[in-house]
């Protein structure tokens, strides 16, 4: 039985009570939360034994009760607690982004290698049921070669999003998942990157060079592959929209919220109602983490994958900042076209 410590803050841990009871060969033994009251509540909801206000405290007091650490904080630099856990000999699942820079990611990957522990880059978007179906069809050859990937991700300006917009480095949190999805679908990193952005908010509330309410990235992949990804944080409260379509050389896949809506005719007039996506993706990701530890094998999402997504996200930011398209150079990294 793998004993897991959950490290989170904000609303990041809200989903776990509905997730952990479905895990096989694992149990949650501890919870880390900066607010002791919230931490105790999570401990109760997931039937854990211990709580702590910091990972340092947990590892010092209850380290022997933990085999693996799941880091799911909202916007902090994930590499800091991850590095601490790795050096304590714990297997680690780090929700994206793995780190706030490629340099920091490299350091974390090396630390995990030296400690001989599992470092899995969390990317729950890969475990969303609709994305799994698209990837299965692609891998089975049903769609032919991936040709054009289009992703829309629209969100409301939640407190988390507003906070992220105030910090240039937190730009990664907004875009790294989509970059990873693109790399995953094409099986490599893009050889061209071009991106543009818009402040987005009508009230002009934007601080820092990455303070965008809206951006779009245009990626080129080898053999004519291409991807367009757009993100906004200007949707009304509680309104999200996500769409992924993949045009392949032999077929196409459309995973679009637009296809999955219901209509409600109530007192407030006609409304669109979406079914909840549930937590299956979180269960699948966490179970995968547990399984690879159990079976002592490599995760399907490696630190290198996470590093690649961060590198592309950084390049997107650079393109926005400079107005130049960027091209991949031999040995990694990008330069202006």
């Amino acid at each position: 039985m793998i004993r897991i410590a959950l490290v989170g803050c904000g609303s990041a841990l809200d989903s776990f009570p509905s997730v952990v009871w479905r895990l096989k060969n694992a149990t949650v033994s501890a919870v880390v939360h900066p607010n002791p009251e919230i931490g105790r509540g999570v401990v109760e909801s997931v039937n854990a034994l211990h709580t702590a206000e910091s990972l340092e405290e947990l590892l010092h007091s209850w380290g022997d009760s933990v085999d693996a650490v799941v880091i799911h904080s909202a916007i902090d630099d994930h590499a800091v607690p991850a590095r601490l856990a790795v050096r304590a000999g714990k297997h680690v699942l780090v929700e994206a982004p793995l780190a706030d820079s490629t340099a920091s990611a490299d350091d974390l990957i090396e630390s995990a290698r030296e400690a001989d522990v599992m470092l899995m880059a969390g990317q729950h978007s890969r475990f969303l049921p609709e994305h799994i179906e698209v990837k299965h069809a692609l891998d089975a050859g049903k769609l032919g070669d991936p040709s054009l990937l289009r992703i829309h991700r629209w969100e409301p300006p939640t407190g988390e999003a507003r906070q992220a917009h105030r910090d240039d480095s937190m730009f990664l949190h907004r875009i790294v998942r989509e970059m990873d999805l693109a790399n995953w679908m094409f099986g490599t990193v893009p050889d061209r990157v071009y991106a543009v952005a818009h402040p987005g908010h009508a009230d002009g509330e934007h601080v820092g060079k990455m303070a965008f309410g809206y951006f779009q990235a245009h990626l080129g992949f080898p053999d004519g592959g291409m991807a367009i990804l757009d993100y906004c944080s200007t949707m009304p409260a509680r309104s999200t929209y996500h769409s992924l379509s993949l045009i392949g050389s032999r077929g196409a896949a459309y995973a679009d919220d637009h296809r999955n809506i219901h209509l409600l005719y109530g007192r407030g007039g006609p409304q669109v109602v979406c079914s909840s996506a549930g937590t299956m993706h979180l269960v699948s990701q966490l179970q995968h983490f547990v399984d690879v530890i159990h079976e002592n094998r490599q995760s399907e999402i490696t630190g290198a994958d996470a590093r690649a997504a961060i590198m592309v996200a950084e390049t997107v930011a650079l393109s926005i900042d400079t107005g130049h398209a960027q091209r991949l150079v031999d040995g990694g990294g990008y330069e202006p076209v």
């Binding site: 040709s147 245009h218 045009i247 076209v337």
Partner: protein, 373 residues
Amino acid sequence: MNRSDSEAVYRVAVLSVVKHSYVPNGVLSHPRFEPVVVADDPTEPDWVHERNELYAREIGVPYLRDVGAALVDYGAEVAVVSSAAERHVSLSLRAADAGLHIVQDKPMSTDLSECDRLVQAVEQANVKFLMWNRNFLPAVLRAQELMRSGEIGEPLAFHVDFYFSKDAGPPKGSRQPGDPPIKWIDRQIEAHADGSDGGVGVKPMGELEVEGIYPLAYIRLLAGADVQRVYARMASQFHQAHVDNEVDDLASVTLEMEGGLLGTICIGRIGADSHPEIGEIKIHVVGSEGGMVISESRPEVGIYYRGQPPAEYRHLRVANENDVLLAENFLRAIETGGDTILDARGSRAICATVHAAIRSGQSGAPVVVDCLD
């Protein structure tokens, strides 16, 4: 040539109809346009004359191998041009010089300098010009209404997917060693039978050049802004004819517009097996206070039955008044002196955007669009 009699019927000369009969048919769906002649140049090849003659018989008017005579001798007031793409401007210029209002098929031209000539000619002759488009589809009109309502705040970005799930000859990779490359014009003539010959012309044209006007016209309508800079990727992914002629059948374009507005289009002739309907055609608009997702094909009705021919459309658009509303828009422009929904300058702006995107796709760098003053 403005008429005072608001109930008068305008006499229409159809100048070549080798590409799309739906353009003259669309104009003639309006009760105040009537055909008087079909014409083309005598130097055109036999297959062109055969197709023109067939159409002239269908609509019950004479066919002339003399464009000049058709423009003068039949009292025509309107010319409808649907020739091979390279000849669009030549025919439209002659119509403008003869004082006829013009409805033209897309693209405006394969050469941007030709577009400039036509803009100048239309404005000097003081005639009206309409580039045939789809901006009066019910879903597009609805999108425009929603934009105007302010429901999503100020617009930030416009995205259009414009995928036709059609085949275009043999699939990519089907050419055997020793086989000659497919000639573009041969492929287009061959495609007449199934109506998929959107790229008729001697010069090969990619999907972006052939169909790009539609998504760009949507964005131009909704944004009310011209595109200033583009970044594009293009590929030949599906059809051997496109591979052999080194033109795209799939493209994506980043658009940077006036006022900081942004956008993208994704366009492709993605193959008949890639979508259950005619294709995924959607408009996404991001605003400062929300967003909207519009299916361009709606409203539609689905019809399925045992023994249904594979090529028969299962999903049929309904309540589509695009043709007659375009014709009405053209008529109003003639009679009121106003602009058409896609006039010569607007068409030229779209053509410039497409040409800039093609250059960007070739260079891998963003390209500034060559805008008129």
